[in-house]
């Protein structure tokens, strides 16, 4: 018998008393003394180390490296940027997987291909055979580099400590980074945010063989525990990750399984034109066609994909095992490909407040390879040692999109009861008023409101908002036949027509631009209106072909504070093109400063502009501490002769436009969009500003914006709030200098006081931490929701926020605080200093500060920066009385 191979970490496993087994010719730890269940649970709760040095590490380099990989793998290697990883499959001519792979591109001039341990030799032979005609070098570096998977919620903290306090990688799946280990003479470590456990926070790291034992020991000292192949299998099963030899390759009868049988194939297979005639393309195209039909519940032709891999869960007692037959309606439909009993920790608390408990349960889950007409939620039976037991096809066994934890999904979960319609509506109506009043008085008189996207409106604004125009329509359109006069479609609109003209005049003056569109009813609608106009304008010359969408677009990544209303998953979705080369959205993000991720890196941005030649640049963020470098980028575009459109989404900072923050049109913006109720004085609406003269060649772009507002976006543009907005702009234009100055001064004072009180204030101290109305305070990874809830119980209302190093809102470790609303109620630097102390006591020591908070708020109930002379008060009193408000 051939001698078993050992990894570089073999001695560590032996000295830890691991049970060693033969795995694909390697002598590997199946478990350590704590056992598979404890290892699985520790991975999900804290962090485990898996020695994955048995997996093949092949370097593909040489001039034809990309063309070669495009030919031999299923994925689109053109879509793999430097610093990124990609899941891929090595196909044969029949569209069957020889192996599944991860391809890393740490460096420009080479790809690292990670192969399954048992398949490495086979893959090597295949690649050698296919390499003829390509100028490539393939090298097996498995001996020189050890590989360790560091997986679980605390893995990021542990790795950060290992590499000297830096962020291991961007907090996004498939990102790579190269770092060094200060404690080991700066030995290099290659980090990948990838893994096989399904953990939302997990890495695979590569270190030189000479130091791998020391790295292993250090990671354990920092709190990670070793886990073996047993837990690797249970975690990957729970995560829905296929294993070659079970869910891919040959089935139990020795027949080839189509690659598209594995759900992940959807991401791993590409037919991008530049891939050319890659291996297995024809077979895969037939599989894909069948795959699309089957996913559309059309089983008329499953010849290319007769069976699929599906998750399966046993509903009764017992254990699913590979090989067990699966039956549906008495007919044998396939068999279990992998199965076992998998543990899960019980969680305590609801949604974001879930905490892992010491209690655990077990369930038997796995994969099955079943006829393609077996679908999610089908009830099946599994033959386990002669007994037919009930099982089901779940959508999945867990979700990992709510970090820091994997969230287990139990098949037989009971949904909460739905709210029923009221039985006694008269009583419900009265009770609604009672509750609405309680809420109003609580937020307006007892709470300190720090949500930066909110603002209370003045009495004047509120009264107008409720008056007659809120029940009316006033559709109107500029009409060329009448020299572009506005023509109204309804009678009774002369008053609102005058209001709208006045509103536009005031708004132009406020924004400092030549044109405004005020009919959009929200900031997000303002953005979609501009995006839609840009698409329309782009396609204006030929209306007979399918319109092209926008690309490239340069924006702020959502993790770096970018606003949802300018993201591909938000308002940009229908307007951003797909780059045919990368098959991804033609959206690229602003690089940020390494030492201050809240700040755009202008020099790096210029390089991105040169590389991608964006047609649209979108500035603006919802987590915003500084002005955006509009001027620098406009000057760069001008110097380069690029006519890129610059749009500045000022939703959060619309009320700060001026001397104390930024003047977007003076800096060179083409469009400003915004919502009128964040730093602006309300009510809740949107606005678009543009800066073209009527004789400008691009003025027709502005006219497109107008037509995308009406009839493109609204029919009724909410006349009540439009009337109220006119009052708000009067207030703003009258008081902006004092208000804006107070906001920025207060924010800086608040930040400084929070810092002095012991809190971790984000942003550059040299800039006073903030130059806007926002202050970001880090309260510990994942702690944001709980701290925000505790503050709410103390009448301080703010929102939890993920920082640029965190994965998303469920892992939020910060609070986003805004000073604008309380500034409007007269808060000064002293008041914010007092508030900072109260918040620090509550956050750091759990002190109950509700009474002090109420007292502080009670001293600031009168709204400032609005018209409140005696005549005005009399007029409002009379208006309220006569309108019955």
């Amino acid at each position: 018998m051939e001698e078993l191979k050992r990894t570089q970490l073999y001695d560590r496993h032996i000295s830890a008393d691991a049970k060693m087994v033969d795995f694909g010719g390697w002598e590997m730890p199946i478990q350590y003394p704590t056992g598979i269940i404890a290892e699985h649970l520790y991975t999900r709760r804290y962090c485990s180390l898996f020695d994955v040095s048995h997996m093949g590490r092949l370097i593909v380099s040489g001039p034809d490296r990309k063309a070669f990989l495009q030919h031999v793998v299923t994925s689109n290697v053109d879509a793999l940027d430097v610093g990124m990883a990609q899941y891929s499959i090595l196909p044969d001519e029949d569209g069957c997987g020889i192996d599944d792979l991860y391809i890393y591109r740490f460096e420009e001039d080479r790809y690292v291909v990670i192969a399954n341990a048992a398949n490495t030799d086979k893959d090597w032979d295949h690649l050698m055979k296919m390499k003829e005609g390509f100028d490539v070098t393939i090298e097996n570096v498995s001996k020189d580099w050890a590989a360790i998977a560091v997986q679980g919620p605390t893995s990021k903290d542990i790795l950060r400590d290992l590499i000297g306090g830096k962020q291991p990688t961007e907090p996004i799946r498939n990102y790579l980074n190269i770092a060094t280990i200060p404690a080991l003479d700066d030995a290099p470590v290659y980090l990948a945010k990838t893994g096989y456990t399904g953990e939302p926070i997990g890495y695979e790291i590569y270190v030189p063989t000479e130091v791998c034992g020391k790295v292993w020991d250090m990671l354990i000292e920092m709190g990670a525990r070793p886990a073996g192949l047993g837990a690797r299998d249970t975690t990957r099963l729970e995560a829905g990750m296929p294993l070659h030899g079970h869910e891919m390759g040959l089935d139990k009868d020795g027949n080839k399984m189509p690659i598209y049988a594995v759900p992940l194939a959807k991401f791993a297979v590409s037919f991008a034109p530049q891939k050319g005639d890659f291996i297995g393309k024809e077979a895969l195209a037939a599989q894909k066609a069948a795959f699309l039909r089957i996913n559309n519940h059309d089983f008329s032709d499953c010849a290319a994909l007769p069976r699929r891999i599906q998750p399966i869960v046993l509903l009764g007692k017992g254990v699913l095992r590979a090989g067990c037959s699966v039956f549906k309606d008495g007919r044998e439909v396939g068999y279990v490909t992998s199965g076992t009993m998998v543990p899960y920790s019980l969680m305590d608390g609801e949604t974001l407040f879930q905490k892992v408990t010491e209690e655990s349960q077990k369930r038997s889950i796995g994969f099955c390879y079943v006829d393609s007409d077996v679908e999610t939620d089908d009830q099946v039976e599994v033959d386990i040692r002669g007994k037919k037991l009930a099982a089901a096809i779940p959508e999945c066994h867990m979700k990992n999109d709510a970090p820091p934890y994997v969230r287990v999904l139990l098949y037989e979960h009971e949904d909460e009861e739905e709210q029923q319609a009221a039985a006694d509506r008269g009583a419900a109506a009265k009770s609604l008023f009672k509750e609405a009043l309680e809420n109003h008085l609580w937020r307006q008189e007892a709470c300190i409101n720090l949500i930066p996207s909110e603002m209370s409106a003045s009495r004047a604004v509120r009264l107008l908002e409720c008056s007659d125009p809120s029940f009316r329509y006033a559709e109107h359109r500029k009409t060329a036949a009448f020299y572009d006069e506005e023509v109204f479609y309804y009678q009774g609109t002369k008053f609102i027509g005058r209001v709208e003209e006045a509103l536009m005049a005031e708004m132009k003056q406020y924004l400092g631009c030549k044109e405004v569109e005020t009919r959009v009813t929200s900031g997000q609608m303002a953005n979609t209106c501009v995006f839609s106009a840009l698409v329309d304008y782009k396609n204006r010359l030929d209306r007979k072909v399918e319109p092209k969408r926008l690309g490239y677009i340069l924006n702020n990544h959502i993790i770096k504070g970018g606003h949802l209303s300018a993201q591909p998953m938000g308002a940009l979705k229908d307007f951003a093109a797909i780059d045919p080369v990368t098959e991804k959205r033609a959206v690229v993000n602003f690089p940020v400063m390494e030492n201050d991720p809240y700040c755009i890196d202008v020099e790096e941005t210029k390089k991105v502009i040169e590389e991608y030649d964006p047609e649209l640049i979108i500035f603006g963020k919802s987590m915003v501490l500084y002005p955006e470098p509009v001027k620098e980028i406009r000057e760069f575009l001008d110097a380069q002769g690029r006519d890129t459109i610059i749009m500045y989404d000022m939703a959060h900072v619309l009320g700060l436009i001026g001397d104390h923050f930024q003047k977007p049109f003076e800096d060179g913006a083409d469009f400003v969009t915004g919502s009128t109720h964040k730093t602006f004085f309300g009510p809740q609406r949107g606005v678009v500003g543009g800066n073209w003269d009527k004789d400008d060649k691009k003025y027709d772009l502005w006219e497109t914006v107008q037509s995308r507002a009406f009839p493109g976006s609204t029919s009724n543009h909410h006349l009540g709030t439009q009337l109220a907005l006119l009052m708000a702009v009067y207030e703003m234009n009258e008081y902006k200098d004092a208000y804006q100055k107070a906001v920025v001064t207060n924010a800086k004072a608040f930040a400084k006081a929070l810092k002095e009180a012991g809190l971790n204030v984000q942003g550059d101290p040299a800039k006073g931490y903030t130059q806007t109305h926002q202050v970001i305070v880090s309260v510990g990874y994942g702690e944001g929701p709980e701290v925000a809830e505790r503050l709410e119980q103390n009448n301080i209302i703010c929102n939890y926020q993920a920082t640029p190093e965190e994965e998303g809102f469920t892992a939020s470790g910060a609070l986003r605080l805004g000073v604008s609303e309380m500034t409007r109620f007269g808060f000064t630097e002293k008041d914010f200093a007092k508030l900072a102390d109260l918040m620090a006591s509550c956050i750091l020591h759990g002190t109950d500060v509700k009474a002090e908070v109420k007292a502080l708020r009670d001293a600031h109930l009168d709204m400032q920066y609005c018209f409140q002379d005696k005549d005005m008060v009399d007029i409002m009193d009379a208006f309220a009385k006569k309108t019955g408000l």
Binding site: Q31, G230, K317, V319, T340, M341
Partner: protein, 125 residues
């Protein structure tokens, strides 16, 4: 690893203890350690009859399923039902977590003493 002197052991890693003419049967410390985390067990019912070496139960760990052979012949008089919900007790205390009690009608002739069993395990490695 622990092998109490008062027990008898089979080559298939079951232990047997005679109590008032009734055999108490379980899995040895070596067996539970080899299996790893035990997650499921199938036990017979009272009154079932088995011969020596017959499979009378099966036990599943995360890794695999294993048959349990009877170290004696006879009829089952009691089943440790607690194990059905908590099979991990076999890992925690293999000599307390008995599986079944059996009224013995046929004795096996190759059961070992603790010392012999320990030597047997060594030779199997």
């Amino acid at each position: 690893m622990n092998f109490p002197k008062e027990l008898k052991y089979s080559k298939t890693h079951e232990w047997l203890k005679m109590e008032d003419g009734v055999a108490v049967i379980g899995l040895t410390d070596f067996a539970q350690d080899e299996l790893g985390d035990i997650v499921f067990i199938n036990l017979p019912e009272e009154g079932d009859e088995f011969g020596v070496d017959d499979v009378f139960a099966d036990v599943e760990s995360v890794k695999a399923v294993s048959d349990i052979n009877s170290p004696a012949g006879g009829s089952i008089t009691a089943v440790n039902e607690e194990l059905l919900d908590a099979p991990e007790k076999i890992n925690e205390a293999p000599y307390e977590a008995w599986l079944v009690k059996m009224e013995v009608s046929e004795e096996a002739d190759d059961l070992m003493s603790a010392e012999e069993y320990e030597a047997f395990i060594e030779s199997e490695k």
